[in-house]
């Protein structure tokens, strides 16, 4: 009954499975549509929306002071902030997700452009 034992093919298959699962994480991350728009909210209101692919630096005034947001090379960071603990600055550059500065009530998110805000239809 030696054929019931673990064979070489088993071990190869296990390695392939581990490799495939590892690879699928990277593949799916690439395949998913990336966020292209940087949105900056202050005190719950949407203040700015910029394309992610254009470098720029924005200064905005939050609840307790001025926050500087920098967009560069498809990444965003908060460069300067008046908050005491600087959590938002320490988060560094992000490509997806959000940076939230609680004391100054500034939220920077990267999202896909919202089509519903544009015209529903254009009639000639």
């Amino acid at each position: 009954m030696s054929f019931l034992k673990t064979t070489l093919a088993d071990k190869v298959l296990l390695l392939i499975c581990i490799f495939l699962s590892y690879y699928s994480f990277a593949y799916v991350k690439e395949a998913l549509p990336k966020g292209t728009e940087v949105r900056i909210e202050v005190d719950g209101r949407l203040k700015y929306a910029f394309p992610l692919n254009k470098d720029r630096t924005v200064e905005l005034s939050g609840v307790i002071g001025r926050t500087t947001v920098e967009i560069k090379g498809g990444k965003v960071r908060i460069k300067e902030a008046p908050c005491p603990n600087k959590v938002c600055i320490h988060q560094g550059w992000i490509e997806s997700g959000a940076i939230i500065c609680l004391p100054n009530k500034v939220i920077v998110t990267i999202s896909r452009p919202d089509n519903s805000k544009g015209p529903d239809a254009i009639s000639g």
């Binding site: 093919a9 699962s21 590892y22 699928s24």
Partner: protein
């Protein structure tokens, strides 16, 4: 079908059902993440008694299991059915086409893989209809399938060796 076969199938199916029920008691970190312990029984059945018996045991386990859990003909039932059928069928096909190539570990991995593929496809076709949502879940399912498939395969391998050693094969 011989009556000895019927006894065998009934006993194996009740083992599978017991594992199925036991597994439902284990709290899962994510709702759809399951160990698939009853697959151990499917693999053992397949190795000792062949594809037809394994398919029968799986079908009994899925239908009776969902009746006992109260999910019969609900969404979870169709996910379970498609996954169980695809997993068992893929294992049977590989066993028939390449006899002796894979041991229980490899067979279990193949079963887990096709189980997850079929469940994702069913979820997409019947419920979700959003390819992004499926894509996000895919790597986690692939990784979970590798871990649980290997675990079940090793468990089945161990049990098969024990059964051979003690000569309890009926």
């Amino acid at each position: 079908m011989q009556s000895a076969d019927r006894y065998r199938i009934a006993i194996l199916a009740s083992y599978a059902l017991a594992l199925h029920g036991f597994e439902a008691l284990i709290p899962a970190p994510i709702p759809w993440l399951r160990l698939g312990l009853s697959n151990i029984i499917t693999v053992i059945t397949l190795f000792f008694y062949g594809p037809r018996q394994a398919l029968t045991v799986t079908m009994i386990r899925i239908v009776l299991g969902s009746l006992l859990m109260g999910t019969f003909l609900g969404p979870a039932f169709f996910l379970s059915l498609s996954g169980g059928l695809a997993g068992t069928l893929s294992m049977c096909i590989v066993m028939t086409l390449f006899p002796g190539l894979f041991g229980p570990l490899g067979i279990s991995l193949i079963g887990a893989f096709f189980h997850n593929i079929a469940q994702l496809f069913t979820a997409y076709a019947l419920f979700v209809r959003k390819i992004e949502a499926i894509l996000v879940v895919l790597p986690f399912l692939a990784a979970a399938g590798t871990v649980t498939g290997a675990f079940n395969g090793i468990a089945a391998n161990y049990l098969i060796q024990e059964i051979i050693k003690t000569g309890n094969r009926r």
